[in-house]
Amino acid sequence: MTPLALASGSWGVTITGNAVFDAFLCIFAVCFLLINFIAVYAGVSTLMERKIAAHMQARVGPYRVGPHGALQWAADALKLMIKEDVIAKETDHFLFRLSPYVVFAGSFACWVALPYMPGWSPANFNIGILYLLAVSSAVVIGILMAGWSSGSKWALFGAMRSAAQIVSYEVPIGITLLGMLLIYGTLDMQEISKAQEYGLPFGIFDHYKDGTPVQGGLWSWGLNRYGPFTLIAFLIYYIGALAETNRTPFDIPEAESELVAGYHTEYSGMRFSFFFLAEYANMFVVSAIATTFFLGGWLPPFPSPHAAVCSVLGGVAAAALAYGAKKRGFDATLGFIIGSGLGVLYSAVTGPHGDIHQYGFLAPPGSIGQMIEGVFWFSAKCFALIFVMIWLRWTLPRYRVDQLMDLCWKKLTPLAFINLVAIGVFETRHEWMKLIANHLHGGAP
């Protein structure tokens, strides 16, 4: 799809009346919005990361700028911008200057294809996920470029490690996503989100009520689709995503104690911050892919208002029970999560039907309210996954290089293959059950 046809055609926005002008304006507006969002989001994430780390280590963390250090990220950004841009003598100047942009472009290009709300993403690709996997490979090239052009051993080692890691972990990630694509039957990110509206877990329960499949809320998300296998797929994807974004426990490319700072050792000031932005942008992208494939994209966890009520009631009841039994906040939280999930399941099985076009949103289809709800649920899920990434970073120690490769090639990849076959078997269950039944009864298949 050409950028112009895409922009003017799929948005149908008229500003000046000239289709080409409008298309450029739309592209500019969306890119402006996204880039600024990335900058602010990355800044706030660094602050969150430091705060969470501090609390996990019983410290206070940044506290001086703004209330409770809330404006620390702006101060950091300002500092990075006015810092001197040092370029060492032994570097390959052209590639050294170019590589931060290549890395950032690779992660930014992914942002336009994410399904932020029902029916609209900046670029609605037919080949969504394939595009995402493809353009993110520019990041590897950029990292290799940065490492080599720095003319420093630390940077080169970091770049080699990073590239080897990313290329290796693309294999289990690709295979798990392939398994999920068997279920959805489309590469379109919007269609994948929509496909998770119906069905109940384990594949056995996909029962119909009044001839239409049941809207299961969070029980019909990709994660729950085929019992344990899609859950394993989600875990494999998430582990792979951690490695792809060079996050702990897979942060060996920038292991401080071994390599100073890995591939961006020689960078300073704004160029360094581009690597930083790209890393956080990448975290959001992999979380968004996980959200779309496994957590229902922009779909709310409730299939209908009835289910929302059931969920809250179930959650509160289970939390009260758990707290009564154990007297601990953690158990109460766990109880709330389990109870609200069961509430949704109860409502899906017994409750009234939701409207097909409403996707379980409170607002009517096509309205601004539904868009806001969609963006809310999508980003809530993404940020939950990002929070877990930060949480893991301050919990787990770093892997060694050989352990990392061992985990990828000897454990995750075979597991991903088994998973792919299992999901395939589940997906074609009607066909082979028919075949077996025919065989048992002696009929022709």
Binding site: N18, N126, I141, W148, L156, A163
Partner: protein, 295 residues
């Protein structure tokens, strides 16, 4: 030429120049690592050119395989090779003009082959309508005792233009309607019928009916005769010859589906054979690269 066309052409030239410049940099760079990185520009520009030609799947596959796989491997190999960066690897021994002439000959023959063998087809809005032969089935039908031909045309700007040629019949056939419908079965076996109708007044030479915004799917169509006004109820299908089960045309946006059909259908054996070949190469490479264990 519209503005959109103009911009597309400009985009094409920018990308083409980037690709050629990258290729020149690959060939002339004194440093082999820089050559490898220049390849990035070539491969990305080529992918973008595919995208301009609406081959979005091919573009993504190009980036995924060539940039994400092959280029990374090349850079790895170059970087890991011992002190290769110090070697000046430019072919100064080849006389420049001779090489230039040889390249020109190759380019010329390539262009000639492309010009004389490729079938060019342009459909600006990315709607691909397929049926046998490039045209929608010619179908003979009878209307009130006279025989005519209904035939379809190729998609133009997001629409299918169907041409209906009817020799003016004896009775009033002042209004002819075309109804196109597509039946799809979803995953649960439920049938969905999408229907689009278009109508036009009939004149001496025949008529053209535009069916716009056709959703994706396999379509069939028929000509209906409207008598006594334009009300829906009075429309009745004109019997056509040989109504088969085969769809008359199919509409698809993007090329993922045709590519998938070709790879997993028509060319399945070739595809698998190539996969086996690559697997053999992979096993061979692993065998050659393994460390010799000495007893």
């Amino acid at each position: 030429m519209g503005t959109s066309e103009l911009v597309l052409n400009a985009v094409f030239y920018v990308l083409a120049i980037a690709a050629v410049a990258g290729a020149v940099a690959v060939a002339t760079s004194k440093n082999i690592v820089r050559s490898a990185f220049a390849l990035l520009a070539v491969l990305f520009s080529a992918a973008a050119l595919y995208a301009v030609m609406k081959a979005d799947f091919i573009a993504a596959a190009q980036v995924l395989i060539y940039v994400g796989g092959i280029l990374v491997l090349i850079i790895f190999a170059v970087m890991l090779t011992h002190r290769i960066t110090d070697v000046k690897l430019s072919n100064d021994s080849t006389p420049g003009p001779a090489a230039f002439c040889a390249c020109l000959c190759l380019l010329f023959s390539l262009v000639v082959v492309i010009l004389f063998t490729a079938k060019w087809q342009r459909d600006p809005e990315n709607v691909v309508v397929r049926s046998e032969g490039n045209e929608i089935t010619l179908r003979q039908y009878q209307a009130d005792g006279s025989t005519g031909l209904a035939r379809g045309g190729i998609a133009v700007e997001d629409a299918v233009v169907l041409e209906v040629l009817v020799p003016r019949p004896a009775t009033h056939l002042d209004l002819v309607k075309v109804r196109a419908w597509s039946t799809t079965k979803d995953k649960d076996g439920k049938e969905n019928v999408k229907e689009v109708t278009g109508q036009a007044a009939y004149d001496q030479t025949g008529m053209r009916i535009r069916l716009e915004n056709l959703p994706e799917g396999d379509w069939r169509w028929e000509v209906q005769q409207v008598t006594g006004g334009t009300s829906e109820a009075s429309a009745k299908p004109i019997p056509t010859s040989s109504p088969s089960d085969k769809p008359d045309f199919s509409v698809s946006r993007g090329i993922t589906e045709p590519v998938a059909k070709a790879l997993a259908g028509d060319y399945l054996f070739a595809f698998e054979a190539v996969s086996v070949l690559l697997l053999a190469a992979l096993v061979g490479a692993a065998f050659l690269a393994r460390k010799e264990v000495r007893e």
